[in-house]
Amino acid sequence: MTQGRVVVIGVGSLDRGDDAAGREVARRLRVTCESHAEILELEGEATGILAALEKAEAAFVIDACLSGAAAGTIRRFDVAEGLPAALSFGLSSHGFGLAEAVELAKALGALPPRCIVYAIEGESFEISAPVSAAVTRAIEEVAMRVRDEIHVLLRRE
């Protein structure tokens, strides 16, 4: 069973359609996982994500992405194996967001031993747009999968 800090980081903006996906997953996990993991919601600026990753033993990061796949497509990456360069994560300031935060954490030796990124393909990132139906379904699915992963992690000897 893991003894260290487990952190869930939902990344995105609540006001820009499907960009809210990561934050919505975090909100769902607050209900079921808050006693086991630190649940954070961040806007997506890289240094903020990096600070949240610091000193964690395990991290689950969820963000919206845009790659041309069908809306609601869920992808899971073990960061130790790398993030695909072609994948564009949600909105970020100074073009400096999740992918850069992960790479920076690697370069500085600050990446948690276990770091999993869930990317949810979005279709609309318009200001004030609602979260699309396909992404809403994906949010429920990812929340369930992260919750299960945390439970497995906590039970592991």
Binding site: E43, T47, S93, H94, F96, L104, L108
Partner: protein, 430 residues
């Protein structure tokens, strides 16, 4: 005749989306366009019809990097309109929160966006692989700035504690004590930062800029002062529109600002403040400037990274001064009552002077708003830098020339999404 075009479709390491096109002919720059294609933001229109008290929370959304600048300009303009003066500890807290923003914004720019240009890296991530200790210092330093925003603003991004007349809640003295300890470390880290950037190689390029910044009789400018220049301008914020004009250019969704009556382009930001208010820096900041080889005046935009580092030392120093002398006020804000009128203010955002003007009616509803961010004020000056300097680099191989062009833009730390305006469209159908 040889013709060379440097085209950067999407400019990296700036906030927002912009592009660059420079045309060289026989080694001379024929044209230089800094193209801002970020979509329009409509904030001035969003504000119309809203109650004035909502303004700080609305304008904070203009920028994730410098929301305090927008909040401070807005509350000062509205207090100017309402005849309210915020003084004592509340005024000091406003300086403190501005210090936090300068620290986090300057440090992000120095370490992650601009330093890679000087050290030959594509970006901060690549630089971190070889300069890990420096990058860690930068990130830790930035975090101290963010903590000031968190404590005084209620959260780091889009703070919610600022209101017209002061704050919703003022911190207790003991809440500020842990921050003071961190700021003592930050001040040393800022000094190290200044020494680090001073080791970079700087292109020897200078121009005779018109510098524009606030000037206050007793302090390095954040929130208040007259708008002054090194060419004789000295006006209150209420006369801004009489001396400055914004115009549209075809290649940009941001407006270009100029001084009226042929006064031309001008530069706002760290270099302008430094040149116009060096005497008001703290003793330590002045000493730092001298130690790293900056004179009392600096006209090389490439050395703006050194000026930002000196301002970061100042911001840490000033934040400590405020914390050490702070006494919690009896109430966190001065009461305000609506009345019809127009109010003006300018404050010093990390990247330059930010001007706001508001009209409200007697119910407190905003009927008109004008916001002029520093990036649009600097845009014409930035294009002139490209015209003046890039010809001198024309013998460089294409990739290096492109890097030099990008570096010339990044000297300004442009915040593109803040600057975006929309063209007023008139269709004449006969």
């Amino acid at each position: 005749m040889t013709r060379k075009t440097v085209k950067v479709d999407v400019l990296a390491r700036v906030e927002g989306e912009g592009a660059l096109k420079v045309v060289l002919r026989d080694g001379k720059v024929e044209s230089a366009e800094f193209n801002i294609f970020e979509p329009p933001r409509f904030f001035e229109a969003f504000l119309r019809g809203r109650h004035f008290a909502e303004t700080p929370d609305i304008v904070a959304r203009i920028c994730g990097i410098c929301p305090i600048a927008y909040q401070m300009s807005a509350v000062h303009a509205l207090e100017n309109l309402l005849g309210v003066k915020v003084e004592g500890p509340l005024r000091d807290l406003r300086r403190l929160i501005y210090c936090g923003e300068w620290i986090e914004s300057h440090v992000l720019h120095i370490y992650m966006l601009h330093a890679p240009d000087f050290l030959g890296y594509d970006g901060g991530v690549q630089m971190a692989r070889d300069h890990g200790e420096a990058v860690k210092r930068g990130l830790q330093l930035k975090k101290v700035g963010n903590e000031i925003l968190q404590l005084l603003g209620g959260r780091e991004i889009h703070p919610v504690n600022v209101r017209v007349g002061g704050f919703h809640r003022a911190p207790r003295r003991r809440e500020l004590a842990p921050l003071a300890e961190k700021l003592k470390w930050a001040r040393e880290a800022a000094l190290e930062t200044a020494r680090w950037v001073a080791t970079f190689n700087f292109p020897e390029r200078e121009r005779d800029y018109t510098f524009v910044a606030l000037r206050h009789p007793g302090e390095y400018p954040f929130n208040e002062g007259r708008i002054v220049s090194n060419k004789g301008l000295d006006i209150p914020a209420s006369e801004y529109d009489a001396h400055f004009e914004e115009t549209h250019v075809a290649h940009s969704t941001a407006l270009h600002s100029h001084l009226r009556n042929g006064g031309g382009s001008y530069l706002t930001g760290p270099m302008a403040r430094y040149n116009l208010a060096f005497d008001q820096l703290s003793a330590l900041a002045k000493e730092t400037a001298r130690e790293i080889g900056l004179g009392e005046s600096c006209r090389s935009p490439y050395r703006s990274i050194m000026v930002r580092a000196v301002e970061t030392v100042y911001a840490c120093d000033e934040a400590l001064r405020v914390i050490e002398s702070y006494e919690q006020p009896d109430r966190p804000f001065v009461p305000v009552e609506p009345r019809a009128g127009v109010g003006y203010a300018a404050t010093e955002a990390p990247r330059g002077t930010l001007y706001h003007r508001y009209h409200i009616d007697d119910t407190g509803t905003i009927t008109d708003a004008q916001i002029v961010p520093p990036t649009s004020q600097n845009q014409a000056c930035l294009e002139e830098d490209l015209l003046d300097f890039i010809g001198g680099f024309s013998d460089l191989p294409h990739k290096e020339l492109q890097c030099r062009c990008e570096q010339t833009v990044r000297n300004y730390d442009p915040c593109i999404s803040c600057a975006t305006h929309f063209l007023k469209l008139e269709i004449d159908r006969g």
